[in-house]
């Protein structure tokens, strides 16, 4: 019953405020419980999917395209797995850091919104109906606006407002695109549209719809020229929320983009009818370089991580734009990996802020004396970010490079290498500074266990999946099968 994947968090989100009336601490445990239940449910569903194939659910018993349909297939089950996992992990982490950053009487409502955000992104991933997609995008966006505005500094408010403006423009573009598409095909169900769109390849309506849908999603995805909202939003939000956004927000948009490109429109439409891939490839490469370069210019740790996310999003779109099986596998893998790695890095940044109240990199001299374990895991995740073999980061980059070679775009390789170097530089900066011991020896002050454990789990997973890599690779292969419809 895949409908429960949404219902559990939704109902949790609704009843959390009621628990809040009873006790201010209770909502956290309720959230944790539902997150865990949901994770288990997702895992079981995914198991079923991978053995028995795609599963569909018709709401109200009205068969598609007349009713709203939920589809879980190889592609979105992998996304579901990573999202629910990261949500669970970050919820474990969130207790202490939120108790520090948010005053306690506001925690119940905060957790309610937090779970609503989760509901929204799950809905985006799981739905098979294009208007339903819009509704859930709005749920996720609205809650994230507020959650970002809950940040401590007053920059948070402005960041949230800018995100709101741009996000609303993006969502409205998506709505317009849906309108044109609906007008051209008369249907709202993705699979149905895909069937009906074939004779309409040359219709101007369809092309406009395509333009607006992709544009709106790129805004949500913060692809390079449209990234302006992302860095502030990520760095001024409460630490846990920033981590959650970095781990899931853009990934979900990337997934939605893949869905739109390959399951609503068809691959030959993207490739042959319109010169989409060339443009998209160009944008992605620019994004990769620009993101890494801008990250180099930052002194605030969280901001640096946020800018590096912009570069990493470039990788994901790069794989999409090369659009052969290998590169798409690289893309899906990178969605998975980057969610893991960047989530972990943000958690560590949040931990440093929690213990020492510093965000600026150059104030972190000799921090490896004070938080040795955190820095050790930071190094591990850094290696994964630059694509060191034995870490998951390697897999995605490797597949992207192979994909680029497959279609003979050799110039992609140096760009990937250069950006890896840049990311090495801007991440290693911190490691180096933290090794510097020209400061008076301080006692160890690590972050509390409930914040440490998630970091440990993520880092170990980064290495484990990098070594025993057949798990992510087989999952992503299933996903690519779905994308290319074979």
């Amino acid at each position: 019953m895949i409908v429960y994947i949404i219902l559990i968090p939704l109902v949790t989100a609704i009843i959390i405020p009621l628990f809040g009336f009873i006790n201010k601490k209770l909502p956290f445990y309720v959230t944790l419980l539902s997150a865990f239940t949901n994770f288990i449910l997702v895992i079981r569903t995914a198991k079923k999917i991978f053995s028995y194939g795609t599963e569909r659910y018709f709401f109200g018993g009205f068969e598609a395209p007349f009713g709203i349909e939920y589809v879980v297939d190889g592609l979105n089950s992998i996304i579901l797995i990573i999202i629910s996992f990261m949500f669970f992990i970050i919820t474990v982490y969130s207790k202490r850091s939120l108790e520090k950053e948010i005053e306690n009487r506001r925690l119940p409502l905060f957790y309610a919104l937090y779970t609503l955000f989760y509901t929204g992104i799950l809905g985006i991933v799981i739905t098979g109906d294009i208007f339903n997609l819009y509704v859930f995008i709005e749920i996720a966006s609205l809650s994230s606006y507020t959650l970002i505005a809950m940040g401590q500094k007053r920059n948070a408010l402005m960041a949230s407002y800018n995100y709101l403006i741009l996000g609303t423009i993006g969502a409205t573009f998506i709505l317009i695109g849906i309108g044109y598409l609906f007008m051209a095909t008369g249907s709202l169900n993705m699979a149905d549209i895909k069937l009906r769109i074939v004779p309409l390849y040359h219709s101007k309506m369809v092309r406009t719809a395509f333009a607006f849908l992709t544009l709106g999603l790129m805004l949500k995805l913060a692809l390079f020229p449209l990234h302006v909202w992302l860095p502030n939003a990520y760095s001024y939000a409460p630490s846990a929320m920033g981590a959650l956004l970095a781990a899931t927000g853009t990934k979900v948009s990337a997934y939605a983009l893949i869905r739109i490109l390959y399951s609503v429109f068809t691959i030959e439409f993207d490739m042959k009818i319109i010169p989409f891939n060339q443009i998209f490839l160009l944008i992605s490469l620019v994004a990769i370089l620009a993101g890494s370069t801008l990250a180099l210019a930052q002194t605030n740790l969280k901001k640096m991580l946020a800018y590096s996310s912009i570069g990493q999003i470039g990788y994901i779109t790069l794989g999409i734009s090369l659009s052969n099986a290998t590169s798409l596998q690289g893309s899906v893998l990178h969605i998975f990996n980057h969610s893991l790695m960047k989530g972990g890095l943000f958690l560590i940044a949040g931990g440093i802020f929690y213990k020492l109240n510093i965000e600026n990199i150059y104030d972190m001299k000799g921090i490896s004396k004070r938080m040795p374990y955190s820095m050790a895991f930071f190094v591990i995740l850094t290696l994964s970010m630059i694509g060191m073999p034995f870490t998951v980061g390697f897999l995605s980059k490797w597949y992207l490079i192979l994909g680029a070679i497959e279609v003979g775009r050799y110039f992609v390789i140096p760009i990937i290498v250069i950006s890896s170097l840049l990311s090495l530089i801007y991440l290693w900066r911190l490691v180096e500074i933290s090794f510097n011991s020209d400061v008076d020896k301080k006692e160890i002050s690590e972050m509390p266990v409930s914040m440490m454990v998630p970091v440990i789990i993520i880092s170990l997973l980064t290495v484990f999946l990098g070594v025993f890599s057949d798990i992510p690779i087989s999952l992503s292969r299933e996903a690519v099968k779905i994308i290319l419809g074979s």
């Binding site: 219902l7 609704i14 009336f21 709401f59 109200g60 018993g61």
Partner: protein, 136 residues
Amino acid sequence: MIIEFITRKMIPFIQLYALYVVAHGDLGPGGGFQGGVIFGTSIILYIIVFGMEKGKRLLPLKITDFLGSLGVLIYAGVGILCIVFGGEYLEYTKLPFKNPHLAAHLGIFAIETGVAITVSAVMVVFIFDIARKKDV
């Protein structure tokens, strides 16, 4: 003075109309959302005329917050009921009534009520919290 009198007399009718709109969503124009907004508007009107304090006494904030959640809960709950009675989510016709049409009517009425409760509560919250000058 006069305004207060008129409002006092008017508000019940507005609320009655709101209920009508909610109830007759399946026959004529209107439905839970519109009804909810109108109901909320009646309270907003009350607040505008008699001031925030009286308004709060009429409808404490805790209640509105609670109602806001309750409405959605009703909606989701009806859906789950449909599953319990062997249908898909929100498949009203499977509800245990003597004929599917009646089931559909009642189910839809239930969710419309849910929508109406949430909407009216949230509308009131909007006014309470956005229009409130000082903390009350």
